[in-house]
């Protein structure tokens, strides 16, 4: 047996121990080094994880290269668009078809979003609209009520200013659905306040939105 082979086999043993939670700190450090430097070690590590995953669910079985490919793609994606939210020249038309990159982003984000689509409790939802001028007409146009749809079309054609406080239940619910993720994110980010009640934020989340 040559020296590298001995190293490799011992690295495998340590990786296996690590996967089972039995590695010492020193062994863990060696395993991490092997994982960084050795393709075979990474493949082995994947196998150990896969075994555990398959024990739980067949759905978790993936190609050995998938982990690395996903990580690489994710890193490339993050590196490529750190300024996606930076101010930029106002687009000529908001309704233009999304660029290919945006559509591609949509594809890989979709499964995550479908699964993670949890929403906050909207307790005592109470909407005040002191200055809802923009989009008032479109909001109403999307409402289910026939009467309100006709009111909205009046507003759209005549440009009349509708009473800002007029809201259908359907629209209030739609607004609640839109706002809930922001509330959940805010509360999740601020759970460690000095007088936060024990048990985290009771109001945080209440519903999973699953895709069909």
């Amino acid at each position: 047996m040559t020296q590298p082979e001995i190293d490799r086999s011992s690295a495998r043993r340590i990786l296996s121990a690590l996967a089972d939670g039995d590695a010492t700190e020193h062994e863990a450090a060696r395993a991490f080094q092997a994982w960084r430097e050795d393709d075979d070690a990474r493949a082995a590590w994947h196998s150990y994880q896969l075994i555990g995953d398959v024990l739980r669910s067949d759905d978790l079985a993936t190609e050995p290269a998938a982990d690395a490919a996903f990580l690489l793609a994710l890193r490339a994606r993050l590196a490529a668009e750190p300024v996606v939210l930076a101010p930029q020249a106002r687009p000529v038309a908001h309704d233009a078809a999304p660029p290919a990159a945006a559509r591609a982003r949509g594809r890989w984000q979709a499964p995550l979003a479908m699964a993670a689509g949890f929403l906050a409790v909207m307790v005592g939802f109470n909407v005040v609209r002191p200055f809802a001028q923009h989009g008032g007409a479109t909001a109403l146009a999307s409402a289910a009520s026939t009467a309100l749809v006709s009111a909205a079309s009046t507003a759209q054609s005549g440009g009349a200013v509708l009473a800002a406080a007029v809201q259908t239940r359907a629209q209030a619910d739609a607004d609640a659905d839109q706002l809930a993720p922001y509330l959940a994110a805010h509360r999740q980010s601020t759970m460690s306040g000095p007088i936060q009640m024990p048990g985290g934020d009771i109001r945080s989340v209440s519903l999973v939105q699953t895709a069909p």
């Binding site: 398959v54 024990l55 979709a110 929403l119 005040v128 999740q188």
Partner: protein, 353 residues
């Protein structure tokens, strides 16, 4: 493949998590130990002043993180009441917590140290998140609690009974109109928070508290581990949160406009699940501000006319949300603060010169 292997792997996961955390907990323990000793000498600070307020907050924090308790927590806001079952245990170096929602969609939140798993049995989904994005918001725990006395006045009020226990009642009265008053009931014997009310001019906007609680129970970590194991096979989702800076994203906050006392705790880029969008999610920038006691989040994202329809204010109990379109961006400011305070945050945001 034997079940034993699987069990061993899971035990290994817990052990690894514990090992990963032990270093951090040690540091936290060292930092806290001096406070703990002070607490033994002076269990219930009395009187007014900055020193006393810090004493109270330390006592409350220690009780929340170090005691073993089980109880039913009730939240009342805007005429709606929801409740949950809360269990918190310290076992060795590990801090464990379990919260089961009693209303609405069935869900359980299981926390082992700084990792939180929210389990949704009906959908067989486990959402894995850090307790709070402390890694992403390093200054969230760096303690701008020091400045609380500058913006809130402490009044120790006559003690009251809450959830069957004698409680010290504290009023943290806002010194200006940029924030709400907070009334806090802390257990006389242990310091554990029993109830918190958010008030405006003596009117309660929202209240959270135990309806019943047992403090000093025997830790039941096994039940939490068993529940974690029961969720094996759930689809695991880890929402991505990437730390960034407002400035590198091309933004700045106008210092004279940001409400007094609120300091930036950090900025992250994250994905929010939004039903009805093409991807089912949108990427936003979130900046968090705090005056030491309460937090405000400002979300920034590109304006999308099909989705961003309603500008204005939404009120849920004490939580106010202000949405506003500014040119080609859509702003959402959220916090337990008066609407005028959110308005200042929205107006303070400017493009970096």
């Amino acid at each position: 493949m034997s079940p034993a292997l699987s069990a061993s792997r899971r035990a290994g996961e817990v052990a690894r998590a514990a090992a990963r955390l032990s270093a951090g907990l040690l540091v936290a323990g060292l930092l806290a130990s001096s406070q703990a000793q002070a607490q033994v000498v002076a269990p219930a600070p009395a009187g007014e002043g900055a020193v006393d307020l810090r004493g109270w907050l330390t006592r409350i924090h220690d009780a929340a993180t170090r005691s073993n308790y089980v109880g039913t927590m009730v939240n009342s806001a805007g005429g709606t009441v929801i409740s949950e079952r809360v269990g918190h245990y310290c076992e060795g170096r590990n801090e464990l917590e379990r919260i089961d929602a009693l209303d609405g969609e069935a869900r359980s939140m299981l926390r082992v140290n700084d990792e939180v798993r929210t389990l949704w049995p009906r959908y067989r989904i486990a959402v894995v998140e850090p307790l709070d994005p402390r890694a992403a918001f390093p200054s969230l725990v760096s303690g701008n609690e020091k400045q609380i006395p500058d913006f809130y006045e402490l009044h120790v009020q006559p003690s009251e009974r809450v959830a069957g226990r004698l409680a010290d009642r504290l009023l943290l009265k806002a010194r200006d109109d940029k924030r709400f008053d907070h009334v806090v009931w802390a257990d006389r014997a242990t310091g554990l928070l029993l109830r918190v009310d958010v008030q405006l001019a003596g009117r309660t906007l929202e209240s959270s508290g135990f309806s019943d609680v047992n403090i000093g129970v025997r830790p039941d970590a096994a039940a939490i581990y068993a529940e974690l194991h029961r969720a094996d096979g759930y689809h695991v989702v880890k929402p991505a949160i990437v730390p960034t800076k407002l400035e590198t994203q091309g933004w700045a906050m106008l210092p004279g406009v940001v409400p007094a006392g609120f300091q930036s705790l950090g900025c992250v880029q994250r994905t929010l699940p939004i039903p009805g969008t093409d991807a089912g999610a949108v990427k936003v920038l979130q900046t968090i501000f705090s005056d030491g006691l309460t937090h405000v989040s400002l979300f920034i994202e590109p304006y999308q006319p099909q989705r961003h329809k309603t500008e204005g204010l939404t009120v849920i109990g004490a939580t106010h949300t202000l949405t506003r379109r500014v040119d080609d961006v859509w702003l959402t400011a959220v916090g337990d603060v008066p609407p005028a305070t959110l308005e200042l945050f929205v107006r303070a945001l400017a493009r970096k010169p």
